[in-house]
């Protein structure tokens, strides 16, 4: 049952110029190294929208800021700039207490399925945790059975401890818990990390099927391009904390506009020995956040860079309906 959006906005989640800044050196240590930067910008100027019932794929390599962005939405890390609007209402950072209501309506799945389950609780107690936290008075045994059944595990799992679960089973428990309160939005951070190929599909299919049933919005954060290609309707590519390209998944995969997107897609090894590549599609590594390059931050790795790219940062501009890119010379 898709929930009606509040106000005129049809968007479920809206980020506007979001920034996340971490303090790296504090106190007396900052005095010893006066020239070292005191802050790191993990996310810069990120704007994106997730519509109800849609799956948005946020793609990036490690250090791209995708996890920081996901965590900023539910206030696990405070955002330093910009706005977050959830169903039209602004989410301001603050105490856990202030964010309680928002967290009730956004389900979150963490990268490490086993580590995100409290190790001394049984599965049965873990999946009804949202009801306890929000003081929702229901028969918790019934709820536990409903949820464990919903994610395709038997009731015998309710008595197990997290360390007794396989990665795929723990992931299912994570799904059950994220969906326990019928959230309007689910954020899944690397839902396939550490899973075997034959199990990845199970978890993703489960999410897709539950989404079809509840109409929730899904924000999938991942570095796994082949997977996101199948599950998402729109994607955004992050590089050094900035969204460098966004658009409908198929269009982006078919004709990437940003050279980084193109390199990323080409870097995925193809399971066909006839499609071997002679050169790696992208040279170099992601620069350090402490030492952001000038101009376009991708210029050092870009085969198409011209002098202008070294000095002038490209603005994020729309290039087609629902598509945007931050590049002076988009490939389109």
């Amino acid at each position: 049952m898709p929930r009606a959006a509040c106000g005129p906005m049809a968007e479920l989640l809206e980020l506007e110029n979001l920034g996340v800044r971490y303090r790296v050196l504090g106190g007396w240590r900052a005095l010893l190294t006066p020239r070292a930067p005191r802050t790191l910008d993990a996310v810069l100027n990120a704007s994106l929208r997730v519509a109800p019932g849609e799956t948005y794929g946020l793609v990036g390599e490690s250090g791209s800021g995708k996890t920081s962005l996901a965590r900023a939405i539910v206030g696990l890390v405070p955002h330093s700039a910009g706005h977050i609007r959830f169903r039209g209402h602004p989410i301001e950072g603050g105490s856990d207490r202030a964010l309680r209501q928002v967290r009730r309506e956004i389900g979150m799945m963490f990268q490490d399925p086993v580590a995100s389950l409290s190790p001394r609780k049984t599965v049965g107690s873990l999946i009804v945790e949202p009801f306890r936290i929000h003081g929702i008075n229901r028969n918790l045994d019934t709820e536990a059975r409903r949820l464990i059944d919903m994610v395709g595990l038997g009731p015998n799992y309710l008595r197990m401890y997290p360390h007794q679960l396989s990665g795929g089973q723990a992931r299912r428990v994570g799904v059950a818990r994220a969906l326990a309160l019928n959230p309007a939005l689910v954020i899944a951070d690397e839902p396939t990390a550490g899973l075997d190929v034959s199990v990845q599909g199970e978890v993703l299919n489960l999410l897709t099927q539950l989404q079809a049933a509840n109409g929730m919005g899904l924000l999938v954060v991942t570095h796994n391009l082949p997977v996101i290609r199948h599950v998402s309707t729109r994607i955004g590519i992050m590089y050094l904390g900035r969204l460098v390209e966004q658009g409908p998944t198929r269009a982006v995969f078919r004709s990437p506009a940003h050279p980084y997107t193109a390199g990323l897609i080409a870097a995925v090894p193809q399971p066909d020995p006839d499609l071997r590549r002679d050169t790696p599609p992208l040279e170099g590594e992601i620069p350090s956040l402490r030492n952001r390059p000038s101009g376009c931050e991708f210029h050092a790795r870009c085969r198409l860079a011209v002098p202008r790219c070294r000095t002038e940062a490209p603005a994020y501009t729309a290039i087609a309906p629902d598509r945007g890119v931050a590049c002076h010379f988009p490939l389109l």
Partner: protein, 284 residues
């Protein structure tokens, strides 16, 4: 392994480990001796009998008598009662305060953390014995004074450990996950932080009990602990020490329980540490 049988098997596994079983036996012996002190021997620990001074062990006085003719076995058993009482109350209170303050320091705001750490370190920087001597000379020797000294000096030890553990747990995914579901600080601390640090802490505490017993005995030995004529292992040791040329029995009788208690709690603690952590129960 299901949860229902867990406690039973944990006990079973202590018995299965030779050192654990030995430690448990010693601890049970101490507890039984302390609880049953009134029934295990017909003699009163304070009854003087000047004509039977410094007797060697025989069937009437199983450990002999001291310089005032008191039955040493009775004094040792009652001394064990004092030792256990002091150590359990003191360690328990220190553990409670340490957990509370440590979790507040680790989970709370930075300034509170800094303030608590400053207090902890300030207390720890006093040498324990000198601190004890100073306090005793100010308020006078008594059981309560010893307990107070132990609580004040060991609370920061637990506090620091709990704080460090809390800090590392705080950044872990399952705590983030709880917060992401909307859980508040009290729930996170009570339901998810405490259960994950209490196991190792209880084991540490069980190893701390003999240390407290030693402190109590030490202060009593110096005459700064339990007031005579109440028996304490320390005062028995001290009494015997003066007559070591006449008979070694009082010193042996008071020294052996200190050594055995230390061994017992340490072995038991180590055995429990191996068993308590459910992550170690995983199949190889």
């Amino acid at each position: 392994m299901s949860h229902a049988t867990w406690r039973g098997t944990a006990f079973g596994r202590v018995l299965g480990d030779p050192l654990g079983a030995f430690g448990l036996a010693l601890v049970l012996l101490l507890v039984a001796g302390a609880l049953g002190a009134d029934w295990l021997t017909p003699w009163s620990p304070t009854q003087l009998n000047v004509r039977q001074r410094l007797l060697p062990p025989d069937f009437t006085h199983l450990l002999g008598t001291d310089h005032l003719g008191r039955d040493i076995l009775s004094r040792v058993l009652h001394g064990g009662r004092i030792a256990l009482y002091v150590s359990i109350v003191a360690v328990g209170a220190a553990l409670g305060f340490g957990c509370l303050l440590g979790m507040i320091a680790g989970y709370g705001p930075r300034w509170l953390d800094n303030a608590l750490i400053l207090v902890f370190d300030a207390i720890r920087s006093f040498p324990t014995v000198l601190f004890a001597l100073a306090v005793v000379s100010l308020v006078g020797p008594s059981l309560e004074t010893i307990i107070m000294i132990v609580v004040v000096t060991t609370t920061p030890v637990y506090g620091r450990i709990v704080r460090t553990q809390t800090l590392s747990l705080k950044g872990q995914d399952f705590i983030l996950a709880e917060r992401a579901m909307g859980a508040g600080a009290i729930r996170v601390l009570a339901q998810h932080v405490l259960p994950n640090l209490i196991g190792p802490l209880l084991i540490l505490a069980s190893m701390e009990i003999p240390v407290v017993i030693t402190i109590e005995s030490g202060l009593s030995f110096l005459g700064l602990g339990v007031r005579p004529p109440t028996p304490s292992w320390g005062s028995i040791l001290n009494d015997g020490y003066g007559f070591i040329r006449d008979t070694p029995w009082p010193v042996i009788a008071a020294g052996a329980p200190i050594v055995l208690t230390t061994l017992g709690f340490t072995f038991l603690g180590e055995s429990l540490r191996d068993i308590f952590d459910p992550r170690l129960q995983r199949e190889p």
